[in-house]
Subunit: 341 residues, 2 copies
């Protein structure tokens, strides 16, 4: 059975206070070296480890960061969450923090109907896809721990956030397509709640507005960032392929769907229709043709998010100040876009 601090103290002939001091780096130097040595030996001998729950209760912290994830089949098989976990994990490596998966269940058809038990026992929370999982901003007060959102919430919010420069990414795509000679461009967007989608679209649209070129709104359809939906919707879109020379898919996942449909229809990419994505998934270099896209720094965002959380946990007494960080993106040129003369 596990030994407690009381038993250890008895064996060492000291009080539990002394044991406790010996246990924690910050207080070890308050203990006489000889005593320290005796205690350390006993700890070794009896394989003593402090009770975490007691420690957490006393300290009012758990040293655990929560990562909020939707409980979806294949969630760990895609690109996004593995990159996210890697980023968080790396940021935590040299710290005393560990991280916990907080799996969110779909309640009926809603993600944002949940009891608030999930906040339980974490010192901070990494939240993705705001505002998908929460219907209102008051949630942060309820949660009672610092939170970081991994996208731009586009509203005042009681939480930190980091995001990549989606707007500039949209601009880059526009600039690239423009310089390759494309003027008529179709678009497949993500869900309307997604700021990633909205901002990419905005940056793209702005660029063409400045050039005095207006985009045909009929050629902008939504497929919710989902491959299979894009695959289906590409059907109608491709029938009108005389009306455009390129399709900007607001994420790679949807580009994969379009590519599949094109292959099925025998429409060649990029010769007949150019495709450009956004995200730069691992798979995107392996598609046929390899996909030109914009790198979405998910790993870097996650790492930045975790660091912000750690910082805010450090300085918790200080005045609260919510951090905002924007990471750069860059275009990855492969071969799914044709240069028009």
């Amino acid at each position: 059975m596990k030994i407690t601090i009381h038993e250890l103290a008895k064996k060492a002939g000291v009080s539990i206070a002394t044991i406790s001091r010996a246990l924690n780096q910050e207080t070890r130097d308050k203990v006489r070296p000889g005593t320290l040595e005796r205690i350390d030996q006993l700890i070794q001998k009896y394989q003593y480890t402090p009770n975490v729950a007691a420690k957490n209760l006393r300290r009012a912290s758990s040293n655990i960061i929560g990562v909020l994830l939707p409980h979806l089949p294949g969630i760990f098989m895609g690109d996004y969450y593995p990159k996210l976990l890697t980023g968080v994990s790396d940021a935590l490596l040299e710290t005393a923090y560990q991280f916990k998966m907080v799996m969110l269940k779909l309640q009926g058809s809603k993600w944002d109907k949940h009891d608030f038990r999930f906040g339980e026992g974490v010192d901070g929370l990494v939240i993705t896809h705001w505002p998908l999982f929460f219907s209102d901003k008051s949630v942060f007060k309820k949660l009672g721990v610092p939170c970081v959102i991994i996208n731009d919430p586009e509203e005042e919010i009681q939480a930190h956030y980091v995001s990549c420069d989606n707007e500039q990414g949209g601009e880059m795509v526009a600039d690239y397509l423009f310089k390759q000679g494309h003027r008529k461009i179709a678009m497949i967007t993500g869900p309307s709640w997604s700021s990633d989608s909205e901002l990419r679209l905005k940056g793209f649209g702005n660029y063409f507005s400045k050039k005095g070129i207006s985009l045909n709104p009929d050629l902008i359809i939504s497929a919710d960032f989902v491959q299979s939906l894009a695959y289906e919707k590409a059907h109608e879109l491709l029938k009108r392929r005389k009306d455009f020379s390129a399709i900007f898919c607001l994420n790679d996942e949807m580009a994969f769907g379009v590519l599949r449909k094109m292959k099925e229809f025998g429409i060649s990419c990029p010769e007949e229709v150019s495709i450009i994505g956004f995200d730069d998934q691992v798979k995107s270099s392996y598609t046929d043709p390899p996909l030109t896209t914009v790198y979405h720094p998910v790993y870097e965002l996650a790492q930045a998010a975790a660091k912000i959380l750690l910082d805010s946990l450090d300085e918790k007494k200080d005045k609260v100040c919510y951090k905002r960080e924007t990471l750069p993106v860059h275009l990855v040129e492969r071969s799914s876009v044709q240069k028009l003369k």
Copy 2:
């Protein structure tokens, strides 16, 4: 600030004991309905949530399962850990348990030198790649919580384990290659500590022994289950390609490496050399040619492991009895093996 049970009790005009009873499903029926209603309203009003650390301390459990992972770059980007996490996650979905990543750091050149703090605060532990992360079997006593190993430890051990039928998998490969007319077969094995590797090899060897065919030991090389190593070692092996008609790679990862090297050398698969793997990674259907392999049920193993853990947590008072489970494997025929006449 978060409200405590005492303040809630005062507002409700009852004792903290009654609040506590109202809070827990098992004891709710001990509280008078009217009182219950009043308490529930107050909980709602003040957004009360119980302090997890206090609960854990009192209950001597955390409702958290730990999953042990080596802190390696790209760990979440491969096939194995994502499948593992998905399995664990799915098994936990309808339970009160959550799971925590327990990232193991490489200490010097060793994985098994770690302070034992990682056991902290979990009710049970899922362990992969035994015995890579632990040098001796006494660890389970130290850990003090039920553990499940996701492979066959091949020794008596104070822990549960689940594994797939690697030996039969090896046999299946042998049988398949034999029936396709292959008699001279090279092999690339995993690390010697890996029971997965050893048992696959064993099943394979046994089959050919029974047939009275002996395998050339010179053609059995190790590449530690690592793609890049297999890629390098394939170099020498392929120079002797007159000596064999097929290579059995004991995991798909190494098969990818061999395939790459073959492409580089301009050796065609399966026409000149047949390749067969083990694992059935997602990528294995996309290689050129698609890889014939054996399905390794990582998802199912993880799910089974988590369930075993939950069961043993339920019946913890009962006599301890360590469970062993073996899951079936099956051959996935694609096009990397040629039928010889």
